[in-house]
Symmetry: C2
Subunit: 144 residues, 2 copies
Amino acid sequence: MTMAGEKFQRNTRQKAVILDYIKACGDSHIRAEDIIAGLEAMGEPVGKATVYRFLKVLESEGQIRRYTISDKVPACYQYVGDQPGCREHCHLMCIRCQKLIHVDNPCIKQFVRETLETEDFLIDESKTVFYGLCRDCRNFLKQQ
Amino acid sequence: MTMAGEKFQRNTRQKAVILDYIKACGDSHIRAEDIIAGLEAMGEPVGKATVYRFLKVLESEGQIRRYTISDKVPACYQYVGDQPGCREHCHLMCIRCQKLIHVDNPCIKQFVRETLETEDFLIDESKTVFYGLCRDCRNFLKQQ
DNA sequence: TTCGCTGCAAAAGTTTTGCATGCAG
DNA sequence: CTGCATGCAAAACTTTTGCAGCGAA
């Protein structure tokens, strides 16, 4: 018997190794291709379609987060975990070195409140990524 | 004889109608496909490759801005004009209906300033997309 | 007469889907 | 048994590229 909105999920070797692999990557951002190649190298090959399908499930469950840095680069994924507290902040990402910085700024909280009032739009702050250039990369580019 | 970094550009009918079309769209975001279809409908057909190639040129010149809202949706373009920065803004996107809303909020400007000071991180506000649910979609989900 | 520009088709590259088979429950 | 899951290949889709011919300067 399944609940209304969610589909019953079977436990398979493939799902287990995919999730383990993502968890083992910690804070770093990995692409679907990394998972496929990594599991292949570990002697636990999983089909490409299976990986993409399960990534969608994990994302909809909130277990992982999907980042679209740009459309020139494949999407990246990151393990979030079950603790809801870690979702209450947004991120800065450097478009050059892909460094990720956590941000918890009152301006953003205020903006989220205002947007709900003025636009009637409920922002999910945890999905927010600000793109730009970090200090190191700006210095590097200056020297070019 | 061309300057160091820039390539000499020839004036052609295609470039003229493409740029005119983008300008005529004003503030709205248009996709490459919109331009191709629009010009086709106007009796000024331009090849797909030509459109994409010229869009890249216009973007590198700063005449238009390119938005990658998500990789589920094609890139959008907008005319900027001669005063880059004057239309700097970010976006709200509904994760259910994919509606896009323009936002020009002082909280965000403030956040961008603070982030440059405290994190030494230079945010490109125009690349920012806040994801969430619009009023219509929240009402729809409530009724489920 | 240059040599950048155009347009078509094909390629590139990530993500999705159809379908036959496999296997968890 | 049931029917969701898997894996392969093909498709879907946006964007890029190769190339022969065109045309602006």
